[in-house]
Symmetry: C2
Subunit: 141 residues, 2 copies
Amino acid sequence: MPARDSYHDIVKRALTKAGWLITHDPLRLRWGGKDMYVDLGAERLLAAERDGQRIAVEIKGFTSPSEMDDIEHALGQFMVYHAVLLEIEPDRRLYLAAPNAVIVNIFQEPLGMLLLRRYSVRLLGFDLVREEITQWIPSID
Amino acid sequence: MPARDSYHDIVKRALTKAGWLITHDPLRLRWGGKDMYVDLGAERLLAAERDGQRIAVEIKGFTSPSEMDDIEHALGQFMVYHAVLLEIEPDRRLYLAAPNAVIVNIFQEPLGMLLLRRYSVRLLGFDLVREEITQWIPSID
C-alpha cells in the first residue's frame, strides 16, 4: 500500500462537502504489470449528465526541505498517472491537490506557471482549516 | 551545488570518447529566480554545421529501492528542465542518461514505452564497463 499524505483525510472531507462521492481510496492503476496508486478516486453526479464526472486526485503537501525536489516528484507522478489514465480510463480527470498556500507559492510563480502552461497539469486547491475545496485550475465544468 | 550521481564521471568520459566537448559541469538553468542544475552540458562540432550541436544530460542510476519512485522523479526532472530549456535555449537537446541495463529494464517495458511515446523523453544509454555511449533514443542526427 502507498504512503498516505497527512492531508489525505482533509481532502476527502472537502471533496465530500463539495458533492463528490469518494469511490476509491486509493485508486489503483495497472499498466504492463506495474501497479500505481493514486490517492483518491471520486465521482459526482450532475442532473444533466448520464454518466457523472470522474476524477482521480493525487494529494501533495510539498513539505520536503527541497522545493525543487517536491516540484519534480509531483510533476513526475502526475505525468505517469496521466499517461496511464489516458490509456485505461480517458474520461477520468487527474488533479494534483495541494493546500492553497502551496498553489500560491509554487504555481503562481514563474516556474510553476511555465509547467502548468507547458504540461496542462490540473490543480485542486484546498483550505486546510475550513476543509474545503477552494479552487480548480482550470475551473471544472 | 547538486548531488553528483556515481555515474557522472563515466558519462563524461563516454561523451568525450564519442567526440563531445564537455562545456558545463553542471549546466545551470535559471527561471524566475529558481536555479536548477542539469548534470552536464556538452557540444559537438560537425564539419557541415556552423554552430555545432548542444546537449544537456541528466544522469540517472535508477538505484533506489522503489522503481516507480525513480521513474517518477526522473520523468519529473526531465520535464522541468525540458520546459525551462525550451524557453531559454531551445536548440540544446535534453537527454536522460542511464546505464544500458536500466534502458532495457525500464524503458523497453510497457510503462516506460508509454512514457517515451507520450512525452518524447530522450534517452542516452551507456555501457558502464566500456565507458561508451551505446544508444541515443531517438537516434541523434
